[in-house]
């Protein structure tokens, strides 16, 4: 069986303007949604708060649950159905960290049982204090930052065989971050700042492949985060794990195309770059699609059958894999052409 015939020759590069518009629109929508929602919606992991998952023996009304909560001074909490239909499971969320009082869970159980008239089981209780929430937030952002840093160094070293330059890159990046911390900027801005420094350095040091790879992965992460914001889904620790996996996956895809480009550049060095890029993308197209397909098989299964806790995690991965596949074809490679127009101008 073969989905993609060996002699396939789609002019991907020729469509780069359309792709550019599509990507720009998606990123604009993502950022607009983030701004409208006032940043990503943070789960209790990063914001602090209490989350309780309860399972009732019989169907109950949400209003009954709420009246039970009012009795123990939790009127401000939100109640929402959770997991598959008909399992009578609900998530209760409150902003404050109320758990510390003695006997809290017992009181809650009693109040809910008497208000709804149904037996219930407390399946999960998560309380994160505001301090821990802040710690976790910083940790997560640092994780993203370091992943970016190491990957940048690896790609610029490995792909251009310029380990020296990649060393300089790393030093410059760390220096820039150090200056940012001296200026006391908040961590999200620190990461954005570091990113801009990275891209500017790539541009002037002519680290084309690294630039392509990083732009593609930022593209993927921004769109995934944007979709989360549009669907009003929560950011939790697991979602950060998903984002880092998407980074890994997006690069994986990009690198395989880039590897072929390097190989073809040696083989057909007389051809114009555009032709070589197109040829490389087409040659690896079969693999790109197949791997995305098998990966999507399993994560869609996970999305459908994995249960409520893993639902959003699987959703993030589905988006990431889909966008990552698109970006390795339509975003990463066309970036390599950017230097060509720069050189022509000279």
């Amino acid at each position: 069986m073969q989905f993609v015939k060996p002699d396939v020759n789609v002019n991907f590069i020729g469509k780069r303007k359309i792709a550019f518009i599509v990507s720009a629109v998606m990123i604009t929508i993502s950022i607009a949604s983030l701004i409208l929602h006032g940043g990503p919606r943070l789960g209790i992991d990063f914001q602090g708060g209490t989350l309780i998952q309860v399972k009732f023996a019989a169907p109950v009304e949400i209003d009954a649950i709420k009246s039970g909560l009012r009795e123990i001074d939790l009127a401000k909490s939100s109640v929402q159905e959770f997991g598959d239909q008909g399992t009578n499971e609900y998530l209760i969320r409150t902003d404050g960290s109320v758990m510390t009082t003695e006997g809290f869970t017992t009181d809650l159980q009693k109040a809910l049982a008497s208000a709804t008239g149904s037996e219930l089981e407390m399946r999960r209780v998560e309380m994160v204090g505001p301090q821990v929430g802040q710690d976790l937030r910083e940790k997560a952002l640092f994780a993203m930052f370091f992943a970016l840093l190491f990957i940048t160094i690896y790609i610029s070293g490995r792909f251009e065989l310029k380990w020296m330059i990649s060393g300089i890159m790393a030093a410059a990046l760390i220096g820039a971050v150090y200056i940012f911390t001296l200026l006391n900027v908040s961590i999200p801005w620190l990461i954005i700042g570091a990113l801009i420094v990275t891209l500017v350095l790539f541009w002037f040091l002519e680290l084309k492949y690294a630039m392509g790879a990083i732009v593609a992965l930022v593209h993927d992460v921004v769109i995934t985060v944007g979709l989360f914001s549009i669907f009003d889904k929560e950011f939790t620790l697991a979602i950060i794990a998903a984002l880092l996996t998407i980074i890994g996956y997006s690069l994986n895809d990009t690198i395989i195309v880039f590897d072929r480009i390097r190989e073809n550049l040696r083989k057909y060095h007389k051809n114009p770059l555009e032709v070589i890029l197109n040829r490389s993308i087409n040659e690896t197209l079969s693999r790109t699609l197949l791997t995305s397909l098998t990966t999507l098989f399993v994560i869609v299964t996970l999305f459908v059958m994995g249960g409520g806790i893993i639902h959003d995690f699987a959703f993030a991965l589905i988006v990431g894999v889909a966008v990552g596949t698109y970006s390795s074809v339509f975003v990463a490679s066309p970036i390599l052409l950017a230097w060509q127009s720069k050189q022509r101008k000279k």
Binding site: A143, I151, G248, I256, R260, T295, G306, A314
Partner: protein
């Protein structure tokens, strides 16, 4: 040929090792090796992060020092106006300048050399000396408080009976506690979080309780309550007591605490034994205060306040209060394990009920099987025989991840299962890269042998490059992640490494074997 047998031996060794490690997880007690650890989110349990309120430890140290100073001055008959703890962690000593200035100064220089003088003012003939503890001593006290809290909590949990608890220090003043499989989480939390400061204080019956309740508490006195819950109506009643602030005896002198059943009312109570020094103090206190009431105070609530009938020798006392057997048992545990040096606050709590954990496992496994099956079937349809080889590699891959988890004693979490599922999808990637290469080479008209050689040669570097980036992401996640996320990082890294091994070495051997045994004209790929 030599190369081939070397690889074969390697695969054989890896396979056998993997089976040795994974068997105990499939069939317990078959092998002396350990099973795969399940995370709290899969087996149920409680994860707690506590913060030791070291500021309070400092305050109680200061309180103790001021009491010592007070007693010393009293003993040496030095007149003073007042000695108080102010601003939380400072001591202020007020004296009438002319008569006792020199004596107080000499005492401070002599006995309390560790204190640091902050200021020294004289207003209207009264001299006020303000002192505190120097920073290095302060750090020492705080560190000790956390150490002691850790030790005490470990003791309590050991006596409560939890299998394989994980209790460790986190950062400067935090304690991380993981209690797998625990069912009564509320009870465990109450047991861990209780300061359990046992104090004996005298009830002051000479002054009016009513006027104190209205707001005019006499100096050196305090109001504490006894809270009772009627077991039938569940109504709570609060009874106030006017107590002398001074603590006569604390739980620090306890040697034992046990649950006993009262013969008369058939109610459980906790009997406590003091050590020699404690027994002496108790004897003296009861002797000096016959016919007064002695309140037994635990964490600032009164448990009982019996009238002292006679001098009590022997160092035994009992704590009554309408306990259930369980409450009495827990109280005995915390008293035996000792008081926390400072109160603890719960900063983070995550509990998962056992049924949810079981649900997560079954849902995870079902997703894994179905997703895996889809991939396996797809690979056979798409690549025929070669697809079968990839499938074999895939199955071995899962086996290797399992063995890795057991071997490194890593913890499998729900995101970890997701990681395995994700690796199933991505693991075939290495094979896909190779197979696509081989197909390309065949399309160029090469022989099967040459195509396979070229396919592997060219794909190897690509596969290494592509996987290193995923590995970088996984390693960073492992460094920064906690609990479940760490589990994900572990399975993802194991999966990446295993898939490189199976694709580059195992499936290659199978291809070589096929090429060697028959004179193959066409490849089924």
């Amino acid at each position: 040929m030599k190369n081939f047998s070397w690889k074969l031996a390697l695969v054989f060794v890896v396979l056998v090792t993997a089976i040795i490690y994974i068997l105990p997880s499939l069939k317990p007690n078959l092998w002396p090796h350990k099973q795969i650890n399940l995370g709290l989110d899969l087996q149920g349990g409680m994860h707690l992060v506590l913060e030791v309120d070291t500021e309070k430890a400092l305050e109680s140290t200061i309180e103790r020092i001021s009491q010592e100073i007070r007693e010393q001055l009293k003993r040496e008959r030095i007149r003073h106006v007042a000695i108080d703890r102010v601003d939380g962690v400072k001591i202020s000593i007020q004296i009438k300048e002319e008569d006792s200035n020199a004596k107080v100064q000499a005492l401070l220089d002599d006995e309390f050399r560790d204190l640091r003088e902050l200021s020294n003012r004289t207003v209207a003939g009264v001299k006020t000396i303000l002192m505190d503890i120097p920073d290095s001593d302060r750090d020492q006290i705080e560190r000790l408080a956390v150490d002691q809290a850790l030790e005490t909590i470990r003791n309590r949990i050991d006596q409560f009976g939890v299998s394989e608890p994980d209790i460790r220090r986190q950062g400067v003043n935090r304690i991380l506690i993981q209690l797998p499989g625990i069912k009564d989480t509320q009870r465990a939390k109450d047991l861990i979080g209780k300061t359990a400061l046992l104090e004996f204080k005298l009830v002051d019956d000479t002054q009016s309780l009513d006027s104190a309740l209205k707001g005019s508490v006499p100096p050196g006195r305090e109001i504490l309550y006894q809270v009772d819950e009627d077991p039938e109506t569940q109504r709570t009643t609060k009874q106030p007591f006017l107590l002398k602030k001074r603590t006569l005896l604390t739980g620090a002198y306890l040697t034992d605490a046990r649950v006993q059943i009262d013969n008369q009312f058939n109610e459980p109570y906790v009997s406590i034994n003091f050590d020699k020094k404690g027994a002496r103090i108790f004897e003296r206190v009861t002797g000096e205060n016959v016919n007064k009431r002695l309140a037994i105070v635990l964490d600032n609530s009164v448990y009982s306040a019996p009238v002292i009938q006679e001098k009590i020798a022997g160092g035994q006392a009992r704590i009554t209060g309408r306990f259930t057997t369980e409450e009495a048992r827990d109280l005995a545990i915390v008293l035996r394990a000792g008081a926390l040096p400072a109160p603890v606050n719960v900063l983070e709590e995550r509990t998962v009920g056992p049924s949810l954990g079981a649900d997560s496992i079954s849902k995870g496994l079902i997703s894994m099987c179905i997703g895996g099956l889809l991939v396996v079937v797809f690979m056979v349809l798409y690549y025929k025989t070669a697809g079968l080889i990839a499938d074999l590699a895939l199955i071995l891959n899962i086996l290797l991840i399992g063995a890795g988890l057991a071997g490194f004693q890593a913890t499998l979490t729900l995101p970890g299962i997701a990681g395995i599922i994700l690796t199933i999808g991505m693991a075939v990637d290495a094979n896909v890269i190779i197979f696509e290469r081989i197909r390309e080479e065949i399309a160029l008209g090469r022989t099967p042998r040459a195509s396979i050689d070229a396919g592997y040669d060219r794909a190897t570097l690509t596969i290494l490059d592509a996987n290193v980036t995923t590995l970088i992401a996984a390693v960073v996640l492992f460094q920064f992640g906690t609990g479940p996320v760490k589990g994900f990082a572990v399975t993802l890294s194991l999966g990446v490494i295993a898939s490189m091994f199976t694709a580059l070495i195992l499936s290659r051997i199978i291809f070589d074997y096929i090429l060697m045994n028959r004179k193959v004209k066409t490849l089924s790929i």
